[in-house]
Symmetry: C2
Subunit: 559 residues, 2 copies
């Protein structure tokens, strides 16, 4: 049995190690085009920021270690350029000697990864423009940073790598701009959750440019790079990071006639088998089935790549092992914030035309009487009727990763928002609350489904008819004073509501809000039980204000 693996990082390395554990006799050869195998690519931004101090820390393994520990050949600088499926062999280019040779296989696992997208814009070839995929990229960026210790950087793209680089270059003392063509950063989140991130980025001093696309780069007379956008901005940069996304490396697979999917990735079944039963593929280059939508998607994340590598090795060696589908669980730290998501978001479900409801809650990450509690915002997306969880998003300073992991487990198990109400999570004051933020999110969602809670979302406020609707601010007067009202709101503190009901016009529908939506839920309950038409603003003033603050900063003219 001879197993050949193409690509020596994440999925490939994981497949190689698993294969050896399963089969001590198999001949295993792993080809890596670059200089390094099994390096910590997710750590590159933190190495560039200086948190990871030593480059060696990034080297999870080496060809020598693979040989000694796993008795397998990891050949670096070795590019597989062709698969001869009939002959069962690959053609390899030794990138140091330039020579070609063949290597036969019984089973082949492809883990070629994905390459950063480099659009053909004028000036894209300038040496001040970098992508970040591997260690040589990091070396080049680090050299550029060190040459310009107090310069400025423009990051094109507000996804995971873009925002991690924003934080880390800022940490290095560079002035950082992020240019994102969409209205929001972090596509896995919906806009209302991303707005919290936008405001935080701006508070940290990042120049955030949204809804604007880079159109060209040009070397200026002072040696810096002019980054020009479609809306007429010109940003001067010592360093440009292109982080607008990646595309699967499918050239080798396509040339070999392996089937590709509709998203441009290699098509595999749930055993990670390509259209050729002797060839498997894993990681950023393949399409996987989304657990919630059932659609095939690209999911360039390290966790799934590792698991797929293991599954491909199992199947290549004759075991039955299946990939259950991707929940898309992801997390990113953005300065002091953490943002995370799982499953599908509202905009994706809307695009699929699939019915869904949302809840938006804010809770302290742990008991508010214990010091250091921070606001944690959770958005649940769920099925009307059944309440089945379809997706979740969370943003906050603490405890975000925990709640998304709990929600990821819940979503994988097919739980409903009614299950989330009941979930028994660990509580001690430093860690949580007797009602965990996940329970609270469940309560609000489930109350909505039970008909105990009628909500409106922040974006629905824009369509209100002042003749028929009346906003009701139930916060205390000092809070209202400090934060300001939502325009048009009638102030009536919750604790005075019962005694002042006679002041309210019964012909109107009252939309109650407070800081986060809890007290206004109580107000809503009082109103509807006293015969009023009422709604509660989901997520309260906080949800509305985050969006307003963002919009005003994004484009004051349009604000």
């Amino acid at each position: 049995m001879k197993l050949v693996i193409v690509g020596g990082v994440a999925g490939g390395a994981s497949a190689a190690a698993r294969a050896r554990r399963l089969d001590e006799q198999a001949e295993i050869v792993m080809f890596e085009r670059g200089e390094f195998v099994s390096f910590a690519n997710c750590g590159l931004p933190y190495y560039l920021g200086g948190e990871i101090e030593k480059r060696d820390e990034l080297m999870v393994s080496t060809p020598e270690k693979f040989k000694k520990r796993f008795n397998l050949e990891a050949r670096t600088f070795s590019e597989v350029v062709e698969i001869d499926r009939k002959a069962g062999r690959v053609k390899v280019k030794d990138r140091r000697s330039g020579e070609f040779y063949f290597e036969s296989y019984d089973k082949l696992i492809l883990s070629p990864g994905a390459e950063p997208i480099r659009p053909p814009l004028p000036g894209i070839e300038l040496d001040s423009i970098f992508c970040l995929r591997d260690i040589p990229d990091a070396d080049r960026i680090l050299a550029a940073i060190e040459a310009k210790k107090s310069g400025s950087a423009v990051i094109v793209g507000g996804g995971f790598i873009g925002l991690e680089m924003a934080e880390n270059l800022h940490r290095r003392g560079l002035a950082v701009s992020v240019v994102e063509m969409m209205e929001q950063v972090m596509a896995p989140l919906d806009y209302d959750m991303a707005a919290i991130i936008h405001n935080h980025l701006r508070e940290q001093g990042v120049n955030l440019v949204l809804r604007d696309a880079v159109e060209s780069f040009e070397r200026r007379r002072d040696g810096r790079t002019a980054v020009r956008t479609g809306r007429g901005r010109e940003l001067a940069a010592d360093l440009v990071i292109l982080a607008i996304g990646v595309k699967p490396e499918t050239g080798l697979a396509a040339r070999a006639g392996l089937e590709l999917g509709g998203r441009g990735g290699i098509l595999v079944d749930d055993r990670m088998r390509t259209s050729d039963p002797d060839i498997f593929a894993v990681g950023d280059a393949v399409e996987v089935r989304n657990l919630v939508s059932g659609e095939m998607i690209l999911l360039p994340l390290a966790g799934p790549a590792n698991k797929q590598g293991r599954i491909a090795a199992d199947n290549a060696l004759g075991r039955e092992s299946r990939f259950a589908g991707a929940a898309g669980t992801s997390v990113v730290r953005i300065f002091e914030l953490t943002a995370a998501g799982v499953g599908l978001n509202e905009k994706t479900l809307a695009g699929l035309g699939r019915p869904h409801l949302c809840s938006f809650t804010h809770s302290p990450d742990h008991a508010s009487y214990y010091p250091g509690a921070e606001r944690l915002s959770i958005k649940l997306v769920f099925e009307p009727g059944s309440g089945k969880l379809l997706g979740a998003q969370a943003v906050g300073k603490k405890g975000v990763d925990k709640r998304i992991d709990v929600l990821a487990a819940s979503l994988s198990a097919g739980m409903t928002v009614f299950d989330l109400e009941r979930l028994e999570l660990a509580y001690a004051p430093p860690f949580g609350s007797a009602r965990d933020p996940v329970n609270v999110a469940g309560f609000v969602a489930a109350n909505t489904l039970r008909g105990d809670h009628a909500i409106v979302h922040w974006h629905e406020l824009e369509g209100l008819d002042p003749e028929r609707h009346q906003l009701l601010d139930v916060r205390d007067p000092d809070e209202l004073q400090e934060a300001g009202p939502i325009p048009g709101a009638l102030p009536l503190p919750l604790d005075e509501l019962r005694s002042r009901l006679s002041e309210l016009d019964r012909s109107k529908t009252f939309i109650a809000y407070c800081a986060i939506g809890l007290r206004s839920y109580l107000a809503y309950r009082i109103l509807v039980q006293r015969g009023f038409e009422a709604r509660n603003l989901s997520g309260g003033y906080a949800a509305w204000a985050a969006v307003q603050q963002d919009r005003q900063a994004t484009d004051p003219k349009e604000g």
Copy 2:
């Protein structure tokens, strides 16, 4: 509709608020024997330690707030002394005036809580001996601490409150002893996990006395208290905290002829209804069904109490709402460590005679190449065959609460260890690993069930026959040198194993171990595939050494 609630903390307060949200018209009266309603009893140790600086922070609500916000009567200093079920009324003692009166009810919810156990030991009445249940208790303890700023404290009992008080009194500058009659602190954990806590407590300077019971207290001539134990110890204390557990307050219920359960708590069905359909009971005073064992248990924890209060209110007001059973999820911070558990532990399952298997893994809490990673130890307990998760325990400095909450959600969903392998958890370097510690725990457990991994546990090493078994230390020589071997082990570093197989005696069963059990799993795979009999030591040297270190400190004579 008139709802009367007995007890104004956690479950009672939660029931009251829920009832009002559901029914604006109901008359709601809540009686509280003490001065305070809805206070943060879980915060008391942290208030005593000074982390929670202001006493007011502990007051989650007040009778005035209940009146204003929820339009309900919260009567403090009001003890319900009798339930007249026929007449549908309770007899109340006004503890300030000493007078009695009756209050009628349509539905009654009991949330009397539990009281600290105060065994009738000689000297138990001394004024230096305190329990910690409520704010007056905390006031008394604080006065005692402040009178003796650099004294010493003896804590009797190594459960949640005992260990939280150990940390917080130590923080106040007191020399702290903890006396626990069992061989371990933290009963929800098994001994091998608790041993990690024992070692940490000792490192922090806590005098930990295990397997010894307090037998008497006596005032010494110097005014301090002598705490004497069954094994002849005498500890001098300025302050004694009794934290040996609580017993449900069932007096009122028992006098009213409500059925009690076998554990001494009030018996309720899954709607929190007692044997009288108009009377509900919640919180520390009731028995609930354990989700895993199906047995009725006492579970004096705030999270379940809150949820039960909500459920009781639902049912009292005619809604259908059920308590799904208790997973027993709990967490505690102990100095720099966090310890947490869910479901059943090994010793409970052994006691029930229920077949089970365990896995013991150690992983960094986040990617080891990113700074600050700490070892996180996880023990899974699962069903042979199906792999259904029965319980989990975790101990470490970071990320423990997250993993237990994920495992709590998984256990509630009926997941197996095979599901844990696949669980897609959020990964970025500051938060986790491409293979999360929960996945790793799943891998090890599932490999065992698939027959790919035969393990022995630390306690089985004691029964080895040197004629038939050979321990094999596959760590690197410098590690072995630094940590020391397990006596009798043959050193053979993993990376040399394949080339030195001929040195091994094929008539023996080799028990491989490394630092945590990962490399020795590789060694195990090599050995069995090369025709040797082999096992892997679950949890590696770390698991064995934690127990050895603890045993030597617990009783050096017996060591």
